[in-house]
Subunit: 420 residues, 2 copies
Amino acid sequence: MDSTERDEAARAFLADFRSMSTFGATTGGGVDRQAGTAADGQTRNWFRGLVEGHGFEVRYDAVGNQFALLELVPGVPYVAMGSHLDSQPLGGRFDGAYGVLAAAHAAIRLRAALADASAPAFNIAVINWFNEEGCRFKPSMMGSAVFTGKLPVEQVLATTDPRGTTVREALESIGTVGDFGLEVAAYLEIHIEQGRSLEDHGLSIGLVESTWGANKYEFVVHGEQAHTGATVIADRHDALLGASLLVAAAREIADEFSTDEHAVITSCGEFTVFPNSPVVVASRVDLLVDLRSTDHDVLAAADAELHRRVAAIEERADVSIERGAEHIWASKAYDASGMALAAAAAEELGLTYGTVRTLAGHDSTNMKDIVPTIMLFVPSVDGISHNEKELTRDEDMLAGVDLLTEVLRRVVGGDFVAGG
Amino acid sequence: MDSTERDEAARAFLADFRSMSTFGATTGGGVDRQAGTAADGQTRNWFRGLVEGHGFEVRYDAVGNQFALLELVPGVPYVAMGSHLDSQPLGGRFDGAYGVLAAAHAAIRLRAALADASAPAFNIAVINWFNEEGCRFKPSMMGSAVFTGKLPVEQVLATTDPRGTTVREALESIGTVGDFGLEVAAYLEIHIEQGRSLEDHGLSIGLVESTWGANKYEFVVHGEQAHTGATVIADRHDALLGASLLVAAAREIADEFSTDEHAVITSCGEFTVFPNSPVVVASRVDLLVDLRSTDHDVLAAADAELHRRVAAIEERADVSIERGAEHIWASKAYDASGMALAAAAAEELGLTYGTVRTLAGHDSTNMKDIVPTIMLFVPSVDGISHNEKELTRDEDMLAGVDLLTEVLRRVVGGDFVAGG
């Protein structure tokens, strides 16, 4: 591209980004597009219109993953790029959405560049994965988990939100479901960092070298419903006390088990009290606790300590604590040759870059287990994420699209995996 | 009454109690009749039909208190008895409802007994107070608070439930609202104990000598929404951690500040997390904390410790804790002459009795501040309350109705307060 074309491409990306951010927009500058809601459906339809206008064909699979297909050479396999357009409640407008739009623009730019070059080795698909966030329907990364065979589709379609609506019903209500399937040769994803390491080091691009290991547990604390006024302390089986002690213990474990080399991060994001009435001792609390670390042994030690403490808390609060579903994923590396390819592309474009680890899960966490995968980050201001104040600067978004385009060019040209 | 009449009266009470317990009945043997719901409305209409069949007239005041009036002598003042027909979600079928039905039966029995005696000094009103429980609309004891001038009616009518429905709308939807007012000369209430002291001492009747002092606080813990996976511990402002530490601190204070003579009881019954998504650090938690004690000085020391700890928790969790509305009521004695009257009545009937304090608030807690009041308890099996398993045995319920009838006879005869 010459500089006029570059300016035009940048303007087009930023204009599309602004349009996209109006769907589910919140007054605080973020978006609320939980999976399968009307706002999610509107965003998906907008995206369909956008890419169809550029000659893509749009298809859906049984779990609502949205595939935008750009066929360059009939019959050759596909390189896929993607992320997700759904959001947290009161989430930011960059998380996921940036990556989907960046992928579409990278594909559009590459097709223009290829118009007068040799035939590419691959076709291109841009995927908007269903329900990456996992707030309305659990677990997170649902669409890519089904696509990669980690979750059975029937189980996922029968999963209900807190009001009892199933995934199947939600997908039918927004009309973005089908029976499409796609064979993918390689996968690329770009995402905002949601942390501060790029910003702290003054870098434009992060090459993701591994995911952190994570152990996620659903706990149910069982107490006994009683009158808060009339029931003496000795007679109480207070589920809220038990659950609160578990939240405090999780933080203490993060503080105690982090080493100089490896941090332990613990969280509790969901915590629901029953019956939650002002004058009633809680009979039950459902909560999620997760532990993450880059190091397997550190994570295992922290995990053992958590379970030791559960027993002590049961005694202290005179409750029983049941461990329900768990999701465990080990710390796992991304493809080293993909990182080298991305580093060479960044150097060619004169972009500063470094290697990073991702604490958060992404759809590429699933995809890297089935195909060679490259994961790229752009900076997040102050590392703020899952928050309406989430921000990635225009120049960082544009640098990311430039790099993704160059990486895609190399991958489609056969530099990463052998072509069809 | 002769023994046939007594048997007939007992059967009638138990039959009415069973009918009443079908409204809002839960599968666990309790009831769910939160204030202003359809189930509350149905119970109120059933009660209206019951007492109208016995010749009472039913009226409502502006806040939905239901007055069943039994005029014995035109023009003389009223002695009121009452309690509440609303319940906790998944509450027991005795709490409140027993007292309303016992009062109606006591009035019906006394009228029959008076038929061939001298003219009584008072008429009789049975009051079903609106929203004693305070779970759907806060605060508790709402109807009696308005009646006794402690809360302004307009403020109460504008109070909303978590879905935004106002008290005014809820009352209009169930149709039990009016503009009635009543001057009351004395107030009697009978209630289940919701504790174990009567059962532990093998007593049939409790004469309530005082309320416990209670300090109730609404706290809002303000944190900052963030991604649970990607946000390092040092960057977190975790409202859920702050709120959990507050729950744990409240329990520690109960343990530390209870003395041999005076217990401190602390509770947190309502605890709501925002946005409550699995992968989001909580931005806000709303919670209620209350401290209760029979001793003013012990309560004050415990309260000071709670507020000292709030400051430490703000620092530990890097959050700010805002104190919202508070409800403070001092430990306060019931009328000593009323206790003596009830003790004499119990002796005449051969019922075992003792003095007790009430940890829980009751409508009589409000009424005793404006008129001479007598509060009676019957035993609760295992002290279980605000629970579907709440149970008071038939013989204990019947003994309570017998005693309330005898106490009413004496009060209506002018033995407690001067007649009109």
